[in-house]
């Protein structure tokens, strides 16, 4: 899923047209929207729950709700943020219903000095399976809310203002939390970048 700003104008117009058709009950249009956005919604929920089966169920629930509420979406260019907002509510409700907190809050690392981190090299961009597992583990050490905010930014490409809406936070808090999440993530991954073989 891409933020509206990253998309070509034609793609955006195409999505608006799909949305309008879906709102009038066109099942093919809703299917097209689902196929376009479901992978990102699932990934966001998988990262939130840290459980693929839970993400499956929550993804379906998200789109059932989205289908019923399509006409309530005011800004057609904010479909991604709207869907992720629904997904976030589904996640919070599921977590509350289970009565347990699936996420173990990560350790804080407020005193991290950025200068101690190595500078990534172009080779570091290659995400192999081992590094992908390390990345998942590192993300797991970031507190759930903070992690969600970070991923809404770096994975889903939402602008800070839309992240504030999805998370129900003020804009300064969004910026602060994302910054802290980044530092925590980098601290965890620092040993694996900057001249890896």
């Amino acid at each position: 899923m891409l933020a509206a700003e990253d998309e070509a104008p034609e793609a955006r117009e195409g999505e608006r047209a799909l949305l309008r058709r879906a709102r009038t009950g066109d099942p093919a249009a809703f299917r097209a929207l689902f196929e376009r956005h479901a992978p990102a919604v699932w990934r966001f929920l998988r990262d939130s729950f840290r459980d693929e089966a839970a993400a499956d169920e929550a993804t379906q629930e998200t789109f059932v709700r989205a289908h019923a509420r399509l006409t309530t979406l005011r800004d057609e260019d904010r479909l991604s943020a709207w869907l992720l907002g629904i997904a976030r509510r589904v996640f919070l409700e599921a977590r509350r219903a289970r009565g347990v907190f699936l996420d173990v809050d990560g350790e804080e690392s407020e005193g991290l000095v950025e200068a101690v981190l190595p500078t990534p090299t172009p080779e570091d961009l290659l995400l192999d399976r081992e590094l992908e597992a390390l990345l998942a583990e590192a993300l797991g050490h970031v507190r759930e809310e903070r992690r969600s905010a970070l991923l809404l930014r770096i994975d889903h490409g939402l602008p800070y203002e839309e992240i504030a809406q999805v998370m129900g936070w003020s804009l300064p808090k969004v910026k602060n939390e994302i910054h802290r999440a980044r530092l925590q993530l980098r601290e965890r991954l620092a040993a694996h970048v900057g001249g890896r073989p």
Binding site: A29, A68, P159
Partner: protein, 175 residues
Amino acid sequence: MSFSCREQELDALLAGELSPADAERVRAHAQGCAACAHALAWLRLERGWMAQRARRMPARPALDFSALEARLASAGARPTPAPGAAPHRAARIASPRSQWSHRGVMAMGAAAAVAFIVFGVGQVRPVSSPEVPWSQEVLVSGMLQACVDPSGEAVAALEDRFSACLIASPALPEY
């Protein structure tokens, strides 16, 4: 990074969110600032990793539209048309399945009404049996209802109402 270096601006630069003038200013600054170049390298790394991660999506049942379609059909879900919006042709011409569903619901309603009359009039049971405590009677009626309508929602609602697991309960007397 000095106080004038802001990671959010570098982030916005990579996201293409800056105006051309601001993008040029931030880019020029980053070229001569070691701290910003360092931060920019990390931001690029994050974006690159995320893009690769997104491309490695596993095949999941939830991403199959037919699963959602079945769920929407069972819920009888239709988006509420926007005010003034004409329904799509595909929606106006009801599909065979939706027509069947509509007729099926009507048939089930009629059958339920007949059953209610037959069982309600023909099988008058004592309102309360002295042998069977009230709570057990309620439990039994709950069991019967769950058997007639074995949907997960109905069972869950009953279980929630009685704060007990009805289906698995071994405490019921034999009749």
